[in-house]
Symmetry: C2
Subunit: 335 residues, 2 copies
């Protein structure tokens, strides 16, 4: 418990060699005889030696750590990204410092300072909402902005292709023979809401279709809004045969009201959501088709880009990650 960790010096002594050779033996350097290497390895094993990473970092000028600076840990977006990143780095070489700024600028600065003090090799910044956020500016380590892009085009950002996602959703509905497609979505001030709508409208236009319900129903990202909007929508246009919801939460509200109105899903009305938030989508009645933003992949990609940037040089601009269609039972071919 209170015993100090064993050092290389002790391993060396037990193996009867110098510290230098012990180090070389353990790191697979060639200038050491096989028999000697064996002795060292056995000694290390016996003492359960594990090298002090701090000391290693001090001399190699590489700490083997990265900072993950998120703004909403409770949010459902940071987590998959975080997992993807953690996954890509692996525990072998790199460990991840997790910092949640809680959307507070001061706290973010604080965390940033702490991370730089710890000499992280790089930084991934995950925004809370998919709109551009202020750049951290010039830093001594490479930075990747994930989910929320940086305002500064000189930074490297990785974001979801929301336009493509909207297009994908509508395309799916069209392929299943739906013609009267409505779109209920969240807060109009979110770029994501705008982009998804843009993609949806573009795909409709290609097919020569109009949006059902006369408009895009912007509101907020809640189930309650999904319910309210659906009621208004049905009043305006009872003939719809599909709804594209801007989030799975909204889709749940849509489903709820459709049930109340005795409209069967999917035979009469198809519903597709967005986010593939499993707990909502998979447990819906019927299980909800939806668009997955591939956030883990985004996280993995961020880690890979960062890894490549460490030592090398970082790109710039915004890279988008495509969405993926998840087909469940809430959408089906007509007839």
């Amino acid at each position: 418990m209170t015993t100090r960790p064993v050092t290389l010096r002790e391993v060396a002594k037990l193996a009867g060699v110098s510290i230098a050779t012990a180090s070389k033996a353990l790191n697979g350097q060639p200038q050491v005889r096989a028999s000697t290497r064996d002795r060292v390895l056995r000694a290390a094993e016996q003492l359960n030696f594990s090298p002090n990473t701090l000391a290693q970092g001090l001399i190699t000028q590489r700490s083997g750590t990265v900072g993950l600076l998120t703004s909403d840990l409770e949010g459902r977006f940071s987590i998959p990204i975080l997992m993807g990143a953690e996954d890509a780095f692996g525990s072998d070489q790199t460990s991840v410092f997790l910092c949640d700024a809680r959307g507070d600028n001061v706290r973010e600065k604080h965390h940033l300072r702490a991370l730089l003090s710890r000499r992280v090799d790089g930084l991934i910044v995950v925004g809370a909402r998919p709109d551009a956020r202020p750049s951290l500016g010039e830093l001594p380590v490479p930075v990747i902005y994930a989910y929320a892009p940086s305002e500064d085009p000189a930074d490297l950002s990785l974001v979801t292709d929301n336009i493509g996602g909207g297009r994908l959703a509508v395309d799916h509905l069209i392929r299943h023979g739906r013609r009267r497609i409505a779109h209920i979505t969240g807060d109009a001030t979110y770029g994501a809401a705008q982009d998804r709508a843009t993609g949806a409208l573009a795909r409709l236009a290609e097919e020569g279709l109009e949006l059902a319900g006369d408009q895009v129903w912007f509101g907020n990202w809640s189930e309650a809004w999904g319910r309210g909007a659906t009621r208004m929508l049905l009043q305006r246009d009872p003939e719809i045969d599909a709804v594209f919801a801007g989030s799975d939460e909204i889709a749940r509200g849509v489903l709820d009201v459709l049930h109340q109105e005795k409209l069967d899903v999917p035979s009469q009305v198809a519903v597709i959501g967005f986010d593939n938030w499993n707990i909502l989508a998979a447990n819906a009645r019927p299980p909800l088709s939806t668009i997955d933003m591939n956030l883990e992949q985004l996280g993995r990609l961020a880690a890979q880009r960062l890894f490549a940037a460490i030592g090398g040089t970082l790109g710039s601009g915004t890279e988008t990650v495509p969405c993926r269609l998840i087909t469940r039972e809430s959408t089906a071919p007509v007839g």
Copy 2:
């Protein structure tokens, strides 16, 4: 970008003092004249100096880091705990390494080794489900088990008071005049399911009440089970006036079927959930009363205990954190 960080040596040179005095000045040591300290501080400011934490850790034998070893990052339980811990440590002194073992034992060992190599000052282990898990055994740093207790009573574990939670839920229903209370819950192999049922039954017994529906309805933690169980329950006993659901997911299923059966919530049947999983509970129709496990507080507590243990000595045994009632509209006094 590629410029190496400034060191204490450079600060000292700029201030015209030795490295030793620079260090003392920055750390508030008394043996330095105020004017000298000022010079150093200004120099540090000017160079934007931030001390190399690796070097500090090397000499002080304290890295200022802790490891957070979780088994299900995607799960909803680790996250609040993680937030609480992150919160309690603050960014000032301590940073958190996040490691997700994905429920894999080998990966856990791997991560553990890496963390020890980084000379973390302590460890918090967050289990995936609230049943006892294997101990990590004797380690050179203090370890706290959160959410899932360690099998070894010599370890210190912090868990939710599920019995108290079950009691709390039923107590709330009773106080609101409900008499025919049923309990639908998840997987019977989960200690949490057993404990919540135990607490619920105990409170009923105190009141001289029987459980409605003849049994505790164990199944799994899904919305679908909530629906299925409710149908069976209504067939068995149509006269119930309250349902205590073992999770918010299940509660959502219960609500769904009650709506189908034209039973009004809460006037005819009250429903209370468990977890206070906001997205499910707050957006339900009507918003769901539920039991909150105070997981952030559990996380904060874990951090505090760990903090106290670092340097000092760690306690042992299992400490429980009480639950908290969240009242929304799905429960209301009868009449």
